[in-house]
């Protein structure tokens, strides 16, 4: 089905890939007998906000994890900000480029909020500094400033486990703000939220991407949110690219067909 792929994109990035913050070529991943991602090209320019859509098992999360360096691809090349990341372990070097936020948030519940936010600095800090900070927080002012922007400055010393779901989400975003990566990846960031909260979270994430001058890639399902917050939509089914279109062209019929279990052809021109 990759005939729907936007071929003009493909032609350009061989000539000058430096324009792309994310430039993946022929990325693939197989888990056992399950093909999570068939060889896939993905190129994203600074300022773009990309939504990944597709039924569960379509490879959205796998792609995000590959971009985040958490899963090594079986094949293909990945350039982030024009640097090859093949063989780079997640951690220090990658964290300058990529930050990932998952639906589960993955905060450490036993730590106070300030430490969970400061974890965004771990890539820049030395070992000694990060150990000292556990006992007496460094850069407390910048944490406080970030949390005030998100409206939860008063929670700075609270145990993270005591915060509500929405507050914890802000803590995770605050961590991302301190890490300040150029590429923000979000795996189902709004799937368990009511529409108003979902709208707000996406606004925060895209605002963050805009401030840094980077890109955001997120997986989600709601077409109205996609049209409002994203510039581009990539549709996936069983690890294969189905379409890659500007978000305003995303019609409900397209999504319906993508999620259809009988795998009808997708009405894209």
């Amino acid at each position: 089905m990759s005939q729907y792929q936007n071929s003009s994109n493909r032609a350009t990035h061989d000539i000058n890939h430096s324009r792309f913050l994310v430039d993946g070529r022929g990325l693939s991943k197989v888990f056992g007998t399950l093909t999570a991602v068939s060889p896939l090209d993905i190129a994203i320019k600074a300022g773009e906000r990309v939504a990944l859509v597709g039924p569960s098992g379509s490879g959205k999360s796998t792609i995000l994890y590959i971009l985040a360096g958490l899963i090594p691809p079986d094949s293909g090349d990945l350039f982030l900000d024009s640097k090859s990341t093949v063989g780079l372990q997640p951690g220090r070097e990658l964290s300058e480029f990529v930050g990932l936020i998952r639906q589960q948030l993955d905060l450490v519940p036993q730590l106070p909020v300030v430490q969970n936010v400061l974890a965004g600095r771990l890539g820049q800090w030395g070992l000694l500094r990060s150990l000292v900070s556990l006992f007496s927080a460094r850069e407390r002012d910048s944490v406080l400033a970030t949390l005030s922007k998100l409206g939860i400055a008063d929670k700075i010393d609270e145990p993270t486990s005591q915060l509500s779901g929405g507050e914890q989400q802000r803590v995770a975003i605050a961590r991302l703000m301190l890490q300040a990566p150029k590429i923000i990846l979000a795996d189902e960031p709004v799937s368990s939220l009511d529409p108003a909260r979902a709208d707000e979270i996406l606004r925060l994430l895209t605002g963050l991407a805009d401030d840094i001058g980077g890109v955001m890639v997120a997986s989600l399902h709601a077409p109205d949110l996609i049209r409002e917050h994203f510039t581009r939509v990539i549709g996936l089914r069983e690890g294969v690219l189905q379409f890659d279109i500007p978000s305003e062209e995303l019609m409900p019929s397209v999504l319906e067909a993508l999620y259809d279990l009988d795998q009808q052809p997708i009405p894209i021109s």
């Binding site: 106070p112 010393d157 145990p159 005591q162």
Partner: protein, 267 residues
């Protein structure tokens, strides 16, 4: 209890607690008499010889046979102790659960008294019971078995009473509406519902009973502990290692058995 009504905010509390614990540890170090030297005369040599004696341990057929017999004696006392503990602990646990008799003050009082008795039984270590029984009745296997059974009955009784209290009320109401007395509810309702848990917990304690039986050597009961004591006195460290490995194997075996039983009961 959530942190808001806890006396301390949990994070500060945790940090404070860590400091208190470290402080207590350092303080306890000061109670050790360091001046006399930690290692006593001749202890240094023993400290060197003892680990080396593991390579190899005593493996002569005669000694292995002795190890097997000692293991058997330990198992016998553990099994007898735990069965007696179940026999004593079950009725006491039923009384402590307060599920027998007419609801009311008397029943609550009896249950409270029984819980206190159970707490007393398990407060005193099995070896202290053993020392007391041997002083009272003289040295005998029965004294050792009883010494194991009493604290273990105290533990089992408490757990059993909690299990009996925690059953869901639905089926019990069914029995009550069919006219069953409290005893009927107990026999036809509570007991069958917790039977697997009762057995499961009994099996869990079996492993601990093995260790308890092994230390009954201290009052003179034959078994692995007794042989370890003898070999230590003769400074035959290789034999000590063999016996320690027998004990290790025995505990692993019983542990494996009881975990498998519990796993298949609970699955």
């Amino acid at each position: 209890m959530t942190w808001t009504n806890s006396p301390f905010r949990s994070l500060d509390a945790r940090r404070l607690l860590s400091l208190v614990l470290i402080g207590a540890f350092v303080w306890s170090l000061s109670s050790v008499d360091w001046r006399g030297g930690i290692v006593h005369t001749g202890g240094g040599d023993a400290l060197k010889d003892f680990p080396l004696a593991l390579f190899p341990p005593e493996l002569s057929p005669g000694f292995l046979k002795l190890g097997l017999i000692a293991s058997w004696q330990t198992v016998v006392h553990a099994v007898a102790g735990i069965t007696l503990a179940i026999i004593i602990g079950l009725p006491l646990g039923i009384i402590a659960s307060g599920s027998l008799g007419k609801p009311g003050r008397v029943r609550m009082l009896v249950a409270a008294v029984m819980r206190f008795i159970l707490a007393f039984m398990r407060s005193i270590h099995e070896l202290i019971w053993a020392v007391l029984f041997v002083a009272a009745f003289g040295l005998s296997s029965l004294a050792a078995v009883l010494a194991i059974a009493i604290p273990y009955a105290g533990i089992l009784g408490r757990i059993y009473s909690e299990l009996l209290n925690d059953v869901s009320e639905g089926p019990l109401d069914g029995l009550r509406s069919a006219g069953a007395s409290p005893a009927g509810v107990l026999i036809y309702g509570r007991m069958p519902m917790v039977l697997t848990d009762l057995l499961s917990y009994g099996f869990y304690r079996f492993e601990c009973a093995i260790r308890a039986a092994a230390i009954m050597s201290f009052v003179g009961i034959r078994g692995l502990g007794f042989e370890i004591q003898l070999s230590l006195h003769d400074l035959k460290f290789a034999e000590v290692w063999t016996l320690l490995l027998f004990l290790f194997g025995l505990v692993l075996l019983v542990d494996y058995w009881s975990t498998s039983v519990r796993r298949s009961l609970n699955s």
